[in-house]
Subunit: 133 residues, 2 copies
């Protein structure tokens, strides 16, 4: 059932366990009256990461809230710390890893709020991605 | 001239002085290859605020990075602290104020990256907004 929350804090957020940590949803079409914007706070423990994937119909921004992130956009790699971001055009392959010994917290900002399936296509077992790191 | 930055940190951001503090642009169609997503980090000193306004063609999320925010969405008011957010449907009136004695830092997340003008319509001198606070 879709809600129309105007304000979302940790108390109203919805957390899902995922292989790279926890996806804490703050804004999507179920929580809010959102059409163009989705927001998920991603908690990535040391040693974990969301390996190479693409979103066929979503544009994305990754914004680092806390910690250090080994961020890939296409075949470009950059270490981002709190306050840094990456812009990921629609369908561009990307990945985020926590190679530090401290927690990493990211915001994944998505547009639109919901695209046609599949939302995500994993490519980490395909070249050139499987040989990049 | 439009750039296609994939990574943006404080070093690459573009800051504009505005009446409510500083708008530090991290993602828009000039800095990045952005179509659906704009991102601006807003620095609001104590006592300042971005009073009641609406965006006729933009959906928005306000996410609090640091400090305390008196956030309005329509006629609903909520105090948000770091990690809290507000969702603002297209054309809904909203406002953000720093009533504390410490800095307030927000992310304003916008979709699409650029809408038709006017991007913003001020309504703070119209009822019911001018009598709300």
């Amino acid at each position: 059932m879709s809600q129309q929350l105007r304000f979302v804090t940790e108390a109203e957020s919805r957390s899902d366990d995922v292989p790279w940590g926890v996806n804490e949803w703050l804004c999507n079409g179920d929580l809010c009256e959102a059409e163009k914007l989705g927001l998920v706070r991603v908690h990535v423990p040391p040693g974990k990461g969301h390996s190479f994937h693409r979103h066929p119909s979503l544009e994305e921004i990754i914004y680092v809230v806390e910690g250090e992130c080994e961020q890939w956009v296409g075949e470009e790699r950059r270490m981002l710390s709190a306050g840094g971001m990456a812009h990921i055009p629609v369908n561009m392959v990307h990945a985020s890893f926590n190679t530090s010994d401290k927690p990493l917290v990211l915001l994944a900002i998505l547009s639109p709020a919901k695209g046609p399936e599949p939302m995500t296509v994993d490519v980490y077992d395909e070249e050139p991605w499987k040989s990049l790191r």
